[in-house]
Subunit: 222 residues, 4 copies
DNA sequence: AATGAATGAGGATTCATTCAT
DNA sequence: CATGAATGAATCCTCATTCAT
């Protein structure tokens, strides 16, 4: 069920071709930069270390990226779009109506869809989380994309399920926060805090979905 | 009801006197450092800017703190203890038995207790969140204190309420994660992401407590 | 006769104290910078060479001068004022009336006064000449000081001698150009082009003064 | 009257064909280099900017000119010859005897001849003036051509007019310096310092010639 | 011939840290 | 104790030059 969903997203936003064409050196630079930035943070990383790790001359970095910050942005900016891709799907609501009768189905779809994404892009996500607070450009993008588009879209979805009586009648943003807190809390614990622990992902997700759904269920009118 | 609880904690850990004895200059240095670290991140902050903002000479910083990192640790380390203070209360369980009949009462107490704390120490908390990933010493402390003590203590508490049938019978760590995700998600949204928005804290907390409690409630045996 | 003239100028503009107070290191830096800039030109000089020649660490330069350009300006800007000092003397005209009955006396005074100056500040003058074309700030200063003040003052002087019938009645700026071309041409030849040749300065100056004065003499009304 | 004079020169030195054979790309490189060198000075100009302005690849510059300095020399060296061309005319003295009865006629011819040249080659002349002090090769050429040939030739000319009693009997080099200072002073003022001002060139030149001639006239033996 | 990616030495500048006053 | 001048290693970045295509 998640398959076509994900496919739609990827095709619509053509996310399959990773940034069109990158020379071999560019790829090595990006890889090295991701590695170093993720390990030490942007400010504490030196371009010389990145160059060394990439196996290129330091000057080569600056031939492809005008500044160190440019390099950071070229890594982090595309992720931002991809991060929120499923939610800016144009006819997301229709997809929703057709596919996910229940909020919990929607949740499962989103969680599974994003889990794959998180696993794949973990280091870059780490960088993003670390650097957003210090770079106005990133904050701008974040506000525009996440606050501007995802939140609004998500709100519509919540209201949809509220009208259907599946979700208790409280401010949609609170619903979103509670839902998102749990999903992100799971991802963070799963992949950042305790990645080495043994995880039964499916069971964990089921518990979480159940938790959210029951927590958001309307009062039982007896 | 939260009053004596908080008092116990503070007294036990003598957190009232902020770090025993600090000279006037030291206080100004710390204040300036917190300000600068929070704004730019540790690595991107310069000791000269801190000195300037503190109104002292650069050398003075190094008279009190051997290195820049020392300065960071002297700011962040004490916070770590305070952060988790309520949970390392020696006879926490007794307190618990006596005071909080229901998990939701416990939650309310914890949330209120920590909210004041978060508000007061927001900039330092920001620094802590930013820097933990890059400093093994901090990770060590974090692991020892949080994973080592808080988690264990919290686990006991959860099991306590599970035995009482107030919480569904799932792995305690999952319960903790779900609970903590929501509380932290609230604090982060409330104080970092959207601090300027108007908030009805009490109502928001009530919704959250209700959400958690109902989400964790055992299946209704009909 | 030139003595009191020069004294007046220097005292009025207090040019005796060379730049108030400079630390020993600053003096060595300036000396080294002048040497290197004069030899290689500003753009081709490296701060590391200056530091080395000054016997200080490279960082020391930047403690005293925020940028390399700052260093240049701190060398060249004060010279500009001194260069034109005699001409911005407030009551220059009175001095003139009293002292220099004839244009040739005025010329001799100026030439002698400035010759000492040129000899003393030769390397910095070289730098000034080289760098003015490439630095708008310097051009600004030059325009303001030279074009703005000296030219105007000089024009008054020329008109004064024209009224007295000592100088032919042609545009004052042409008179100035002819006069200045010769004086500067002499200084440039004397100190830049052929400094090693043997020079009988007094004789050369006398020839030059005679040349100028006769060249500018009015037509002889027979 | 100046016409055949100029023609002789140009033909003798075959200056009509600008540097024999230059590919289209080479011409564009030279043009761009002149532009950039004149604006920023040699040391502060980058080959990449020149390449960009010329519309060629960076490598192309180095295919035609082994080094950046080679490029500079290829621009400036030919100018040097042209600059002094009229004076190295082989049978200059004969030309002189035949054509210019008076020193002032000679002056007019030279001034007019060189004025056209200066106007045409202004940017390269600017570069020459700026760079000679920093490049021994250029100084060498300058010494050889100017000091070695022009000065000597000019000296003969001056002595010629001295013998004829047109010029006062002072050292010929002083005569040359005074003459040249005025002509160069005029060109520099006219084309570098105040090119935007309105100029009545003919009148200015006449004043200047008169100034020089009268300044150099022998004492009137009454 | 022309290209332009790659180089790496060198440039200006910053910064944590030291130490004489 | 406090200062702030001095340090020099390290940082980001530029640039002339080379070379495979």
């Amino acid at each position: 069920m998640a398959e076509p969903f994900e496919q739609w997203v990827d095709e619509l936003l053509n996310l399959n071709d990773e940034d069109v064409k990158l020379t071999e050196k560019q790829i090595k630079i990006i890889q090295a930069a991701v590695e170093v930035f993720a390990e030490k943070g942007y400010a504490a990383s030196s371009t010389s270390e990145i160059a060394q790790k990439a196996g290129v001359a330091e000057g080569t970095i600056f031939r492809h990226y005008k500044t160190k910050k440019d390099l950071l942005l070229s890594i982090v900016a595309p992720l931002m779009s991809k991060l929120i891709a499923p939610f800016i799907l144009k006819d997301f609501n229709k997809v929703l109506d057709a596919t996910y009768a229940r909020y919990e189905d929607f949740l499962r779809a989103v969680i599974h869809n994003r889990q794959e994404f998180v696993r794949k892009h973990l280091p870059v996500i780490k960088i993003l989380l670390q650097e957003v607070p210090f770079h106005p450009e990133l904050q701008e993008q974040f506000k525009e994309h996440v606050a501007g588009k995802v939140l609004e879209r998500f709100k519509n979805i919540v209201e949809h399920y509220q009208k259907e009586g599946q979700i208790i009648d409280i401010p949609p943003y609170s619903v979103i926060r509670m839902t998102a807190s749990n999903i992100l809390g799971f991802f963070i614990t799963r992949y950042l805090l305790a990645p080495d622990q043994e995880w039964d992902d499916e069971r964990e997700i089921e518990m979480m979905v159940r938790f959210i759904v029951r927590g958001l269920a309307p009062e039982e009118s007896r």
